[in-house]
């Protein structure tokens, strides 16, 4: 049984989010304007979001592959969404 991190290295994408993108989005949704965000926090949330997307892509591709279809549809997303949201708290 592969260690999750080993498994993940195989699927990891090389594209990353734009520099301050996640930071900007978080700023939008923090209700209290005085809250400041630590530097390491941005890198941490970047990691989380990156893993989240990799997981979505991997599971939808798996789903489409198992069905023998060459295009990923909304149906595939529907099928993986419940487990994905539960896995990511």
């Amino acid at each position: 049984m592969d260690n999750y991190l080993q498994l993940f290295e195989r699927k990891k994408s090389s594209t990353k989010f734009k520099e301050g993108l996640i930071h900007e989005i978080i700023k939008l949704y923090t209700a209290d304007q005085k809250v400041r965000i630590g530097g390491e926090v941005i890198t941490a949330v970047n990691e989380i979001a990156l893993r989240f997307v990799d997981e979505i892509l991997w599971r939808t591709i798996n789903q489409a592959h198992n069905e023998g279809v060459k295009d990923v549809n909304l149906d595939h997303i529907e099928k993986i969404i419940p487990q994905l949201l539960l896995d990511f708290a």
Partner: protein
């Protein structure tokens, strides 16, 4: 506990609704999603529909929104105005693998900090040492 006046609440709501800023951020996110999907397409020969990419963008947007609200609530709970790495660790407490990833994020920094602290301590120690006495050579015998 911050209590916003009805006007402030309205203004906050307007900012977060589909304003230009929000549209640009979503577009940037959408673009990055497109690139990631393209990368997977070349690896696996399975292509993504346009609406699927848009849906993934929306899912990620909502997820980041939830993360932001949670992190802010955690920081407030700790009576702090800055969001810490500890808040993020609390966020991922249910996911073993994310916890492991965040541990690696925390520790390299703490190693560096420990080294920096050691260096600082050494420098301080050198400063408090009594400097060696300086003897000036007075060549009185030259001008006798």
């Amino acid at each position: 506990m911050v209590i916003l006046t009805p006007t402030e609440k309205f203004i906050n709501l307007v900012i977060v609704m589909d304003t230009d800023h929000v549209q640009r951020l979503k577009a940037s996110l959408h673009f990055t999603m497109g690139k990631m999907c393209e990368e997977q397409e070349t690896k696996t020969q399975i292509s993504f529909d346009k609406n699927v990419i848009a849906t993934i963008t929306e899912i990620l947007w909502q997820k980041i929104k939830l993360i932001a609200e949670d992190l802010e609530a955690f920081a407030k709970h700790g009576k702090r105005t800055t969001i810490n790495l500890d808040d993020v660790k609390l966020l991922v407490r249910r996911n073993e693998d994310l916890k492991a990833i965040l541990e690696t994020l925390g520790s390299p920094n703490s190693e560096e900090n420990a080294k920096i602290d050691k260096r600082k301590a050494l420098v301080k120690k050198k400063k408090t040492d009594i400097p060696p006495e300086v003897h000036l050579d007075t060549d009185d015998d030259m001008f006798v």
